[in-house]
């Protein structure tokens, strides 16, 4: 079921891509070219549609892991929190929060490790990036 949905999604991506390609505005000179800004995208999009269609006749490969959606969703949420926090609290505090959340999600409960990693790694990063390499982070 999921495999079929992937194939449908791939076919739709190909079709959408071809549609977007047809909307690329060309200047009159390029339009006359044998290969212009649209040509290869057309081929790629149509190729993807054909391959997705061709895969429908192939036996799907056995899935190599049992998807556990809840942990994955929580990890993604932790990353979303990191992205949202980034402009407000800066890179290193966001990183510390991300590490802390992910370790908690993974089941780490030892306070020294939780604090050591979520404070130590951002501190090391800040020292390396902003102090030693003198990079300026534009936030």
């Amino acid at each position: 079921m999921v495999y079929r949905s992937i194939l449908v999604a791939l076919f739709a991506i190909g079709a959408g891509y071809v549609l977007l390609t047809s909307q690329i505005v060309l200047d009159p000179w390029s339009e006359m070219d044998a290969v212009n800004s649209r040509t290869l995208p057309y081929i790629y999009g149509l190729g993807l549609m054909l391959c997705a269609f061709g895969l429908a006749w192939q036996k799907p490969q056995k899935v190599t892991f049992s998807p556990r959606l809840l942990p994955l969703t929580l990890v993604c949420l932790a990353i979303v929190v990191f992205i949202i926090l980034l402009p407000f609290v800066g890179l290193w505090w966001s990183l510390g929060t991300l590490l802390l959340l992910n370790m908690l999600l993974m089941g780490e409960r030892r306070l020294p490790i939780l604090l050591g990693m979520s404070l130590g790694v951002p501190l090391a990063g800040w020292t390396l990036v902003e102090k030693l390499l003198e990079m300026v982070i534009p936030l």
């Binding site: 991506i13 490969q61 994955l72 990191f82 993974m106 534009p138």
Partner: protein
């Protein structure tokens, strides 16, 4: 060539570059040992560090990371039967049973020696073939480049495992499509940007690598139960008997030669080389577990080096890893190809000599460390995976400084994880992404030269030869099916 080698030695053996290759070997070994993180992820994670170095130092460090990660990947394949990357799968066939039979130290030592042999053999071959191919490549212009890239893309699909050709074609096409996002360099028009200013320069290569490999792998490990190892290895286990050395040297020799030849072919890569070598050894060898481990290890290291031939001399990545390296080189403003050897001899020869040095250092550093390195596998994943996720996100953010790119990265990682779970290989995605711009640019330039006449491509003998080769390799699957 001798002058080039001397330049390379002078570049590679400076204290700073030597330190970076040592650092690269160690870092690569550690990252490569983590199941799921292979050479591509290791190099991707090191990209932000490499940007702070000069081009020669950065590429030399990357060569060390590459070798280290290839070797490190074999360790987890052998000890816990968890090959982190496809190229070490064949090593686990005989390596894991050898380790389970109480010979874990010996298995790791064989892998280390065979990797050293294959890598050194490949580096020597690279030294000769790279310069020869570079001279040949001087004759190659836009039409030939376009045909060569087409050949590489065809090889990726044709040489994929049976049953993997359509999935490889799908991910290759997705990579090509992603490569068209942004401002068209020749036409000057915006394509697939959705009026997003962050997309006008296209999708950043580091973003794609980090999301499809490092982050997607971390997600996969996060939701999967990784097998744990209780193996203990002592220094005494690492010694091989003379009779075994005599028996395994010819195995390593023929496998390294086969691996190098396969590695030079764009798109074939270390995975195919290791499978070929394993199959060959099972057919003509004595069938022992030791030989079955030596063959893929020697072959995949020689093939890894072999993939540098088209990269350095023609500017065409032969594998996913060399595609990442090509991205690094382009970011440095270097144009791999025939001009590199002339304009930047210290970079070209420095990288080649560093491969010798890297190989030697890898053996010297890692052999005594094997008992201790093996313990990394026992590190709690609940600490390791958050670090990998954090480093992936920081790697992208420090490269693009774009919050939008981080959101894009999350989306790509989820999509890549799903595709991978259903058997779609992701290396062709990277190859397609890298080749997309190069292919379009060279094809359109060639047609501009010929005033749009496609027949111009067929009038050039090298182009015609490559296009015929493309058609011929397309017949290989049909031929194989008929033979079977």
């Amino acid at each position: 060539m001798l002058e080039g080698i001397m330049t390379g030695i002078a570049t590679a053996l400076t204290l700073s570059n030597l330190s970076w290759v040592v650092f690269g070997c160690i870092a690569g070994t550690f990252i490569g040992m983590i199941p799921g993180l292979g050479p591509i992820s290791a190099i991707a994670l090191m990209i932000p560090i490499s940007y702070s170095l000069d081009p020669a130092g950065g590429l030399i460090m990357m060569a060390g990371v590459y070798y280290g990660a290839v070797f490190g990947g074999s360790t987890s394949a052998i000890l816990i039967n968890a090959p982190g990357v496809a190229s070490t799968v064949a090593s686990s066939f005989d390596g894991y049973p050898l380790a389970r039979s109480g010979k874990a130290g010996k298995a790791l030592a064989i892998a280390a020696y065979a990797s050293f042999f294959g890598g050194t053999f490949g580096a020597i071959m690279l030294m000769f073939f790279a310069s020869t191919l570079a001279l040949l490549a001087l004759q190659i212009q836009s039409p030939e480049y376009a045909a060569l890239i087409l050949f590489a893309m065809t090889s990726i699909v044709v040489f994929a495992q049976p049953g993997q050709r359509f999935p490889s074609a799908v991910t290759l096409l997705l990579g090509l499509m992603l490569g068209t996002v942004g401002t068209d360099q020749l036409g000057g028009v915006q394509r697939f940007t959705f009026n997003q200013i962050d997309l006008t320069d296209g999708i950043h290569f580091v973003l794609l690598v980090m999301s499809t490999f490092a982050l997607a792998e971390a997600f996969r490990l996060f939701i999967a139960q990784s097998p744990r190892s209780e193996q203990k290895v002592s220094l005494r286990d690492l010694k091989l008997a003379k009779s075994e050395v005599r028996k395994l040297t010819p195995v390593a020799g023929r496998s390294a030669l086969l691996g190098f030849v396969v590695g030079v072919m764009p798109g074939a890569g270390a995975t195919l080389a290791s499978f070929f070598a394993y199959d060959l050894e099972k057919q003509i060898g004595d069938g022992s577990l030791e030989a079955g481990l030596t063959a893929p290890e020697a072959a995949n290291n020689a093939a890894s080096t072999g993939s540098f031939v088209p990269l350095l001399s023609l500017g065409i990545p032969g594998s996913g890893t060399s595609a990442v390296l090509l991205g690094v080189m382009l970011a440095y403003g270097l144009q791999p190809g025939p001009t590199l050897i002339v304009e930047q001899p210290e970079v070209f020869w420095g990288v080649i000599i560093s491969m010798y040095v890297g190989n030697l250092l890898l053996l010297l550093l890692n052999l005594p460390l094997i008992p201790y390195l093996a313990r990394l596998i026992n590190l709690p994943t609940k600490v390791l995976l958050p670090l990998v996720i954090g480093f992936s996100l920081i790697g992208v953010f420090l490269t693009t400084f774009s919050v939008f790119d981080l959101a894009l990265m999350l989306g790509f990682a989820l999509a890549a994880g799903l595709l991978r779970a259903y058997g779609f290989p992701l290396a062709p995605l990277l190859l397609g992404f890298i080749m997309s711009g190069l292919f379009e640019e060279n094809l359109r330039r060639a047609l501009m030269l010929s005033s749009g006449e496609l027949s111009y491509l067929l009038d050039r003998p090298i182009t015609l030869f490559i296009l015929i080769a493309c058609l011929l390799i397309c017949c290989i699957p049909l031929w194989n099916r008929r033979s079977a």
